[in-house]
């Protein structure tokens, strides 16, 4: 009913606009509702608009809002983006920092975290000399091959041995840490969203006290960057915890930066080589691209510059063309 009267009334309006010529004809066909008042038209339009907007709002309310499976607390604070120099396209790791970072790992983290994918030999020529690496390996004992009686004796470590883990197995690690497993750090930079930024923020992000109102279970420490904010690892880095042999002041952030860079190396030991190779590949391929463009233009130049001329045949007696 509403729709029909609307239709009719628009026709009436159209008729008025169309001017005198058509008026009589249209007026005959629209009969009674010619009297549709502007007020009723406005009401109908407004109502339709309100219904349209209302249904859109209702639909958006139902389906439109973004869904989060986790609360912001459960997501954890997003780490700050730091300008890591070794992350640049053309920069290697700073190997002095790697050496310091290894020292931090060795003196601080290695009492809880393993670094099981790194053998001593891979430190050679990266952070340490052969002799240093050998000396460090020999400080540990490893199982040897079974002897004639089938006994397994201990032998000092060799370059080919992997860094020793602090616990015999994951269960022992859990038991020693309140049920929380300190993850292996070999690939941790690749294994966490935010990579270097996240781990740096995590290590330096422990506040003096948890904010008021935060209740954590026993044995958990507050860290806003850790998803869930309650982490089983307490703050481990404090100013001057280690003494760097190269004299760098061992502030908390310096140690965190060094150990993070070292962990990035342990996750991607091939990075230096990869970037150098990548640069060479770019250089060669751009040379070859330029060369192939030149060759193409060279080969095509006769075709591009040729001129096709149409010489019409001479018609008997008449002047050429036209």
């Amino acid at each position: 009913m509403l729709a029909r009267s609307c239709l009719r009334s628009t026709r009436a309006v159209g008729a008025v606009r169309n001017g005198a010529v058509n008026t009589s004809k249209r007026a005959a066909s629209t009969s009674s509702s010619e009297a549709a008042s502007p007020f009723r038209l406005n009401m109908a339009g407004s109502a339709a608009t309100a219904v349209a907007i209302g249904s859109m709002a209702w639909y958006y309310h139902l389906y439109g809002t973004e869904l989060h499976a986790m609360t912001p607390t459960e997501e954890g604070l997003h780490p700050t983006k730091y300008p890591w120099e070794h992350a640049a396209w053309t920069k290697t790791f700073d190997h002095q920092a790697l050496r310091r970072g290894f020292q931090v790992y060795q003196e601080v983290c290695s009492s809880c975290h393993s670094l099981s994918r790194i053998p001593y030999r891979s430190l050679v020529g990266v952070t340490h000399t052969v002799d240093e690496a050998k000396a460090m390996a020999e400080e540990n004992e490893y199982d040897s091959e079974p002897n004639d009686e089938g006994e397994i004796e201990k032998r000092p470590g060799k370059l080919s041995d992997y860094l020793p883990s602090p616990y015999k197995n994951d269960e022992a690690a859990r038991a020693a840490n309140n049920g929380a497993l300190p993850p292996d750090l070999s690939l941790i930079v690749k294994a966490r969203h935010g990579g270097c930024d996240y781990i740096f923020s995590l290590l330096t992000g422990y506040p003096e006290e948890p904010p008021p109102g935060v209740k954590l279970p026993d044995g958990l420490n507050f860290n806003p960057y850790f998803p869930g904010t309650g982490i089983a690892m307490a703050r481990v880095l404090y100013n001057d915890l280690v003494e760097y042999e190269d004299g760098t002041p061992a502030s908390t952030s310096q140690m965190a930066k060094d150990v993070v860079e070292f962990l990035n190396w342990s996750a991607e030991p091939e990075m230096d080589q990869r970037k150098k190779m990548g640069l060479k590949v770019l250089a060669i391929t751009s040379l070859l691209t330029a060369l192939s463009i030149w060759v193409k233009r060279y080969k095509w130049s006769p075709i591009k510059t040729r001129k096709i001329v149409y010489v019409p045949p001479k018609m008997g007696g008449r002047p050429n063309g036209h």
Binding site: T90, K91, H95, H128, T129, K276, I284
Partner: protein
């Protein structure tokens, strides 16, 4: 091609074994030159960052002890 280079061109291309040899030697030479130059550029960009830049410190201190 410039006429001056014509004899050289003829020498290089006339006999197949010379032509092939020139290609192989050229690839070899180019590779050496390219690697040397790009390594130098790379080491310059990363001055002081690589192991070879700090290695001397640790070799030295080993000898002192």
């Amino acid at each position: 091609m410039a006429t001056a280079a014509r004899p050289l061109y003829n020498f290089l291309v006339r006999r197949n074994y010379i032509f092939l040899g020139v290609i192989f030697a050229g690839a070899f030479g180019f590779e050496m030159a390219f690697d040397t130059i790009s390594d130098r550029i790379w080491d310059n960009i990363n001055k002081g960052r690589q192991w070879k830049d700090i290695r001397a410190k640790y070799i030295q201190s080993e000898d002192d002890e």
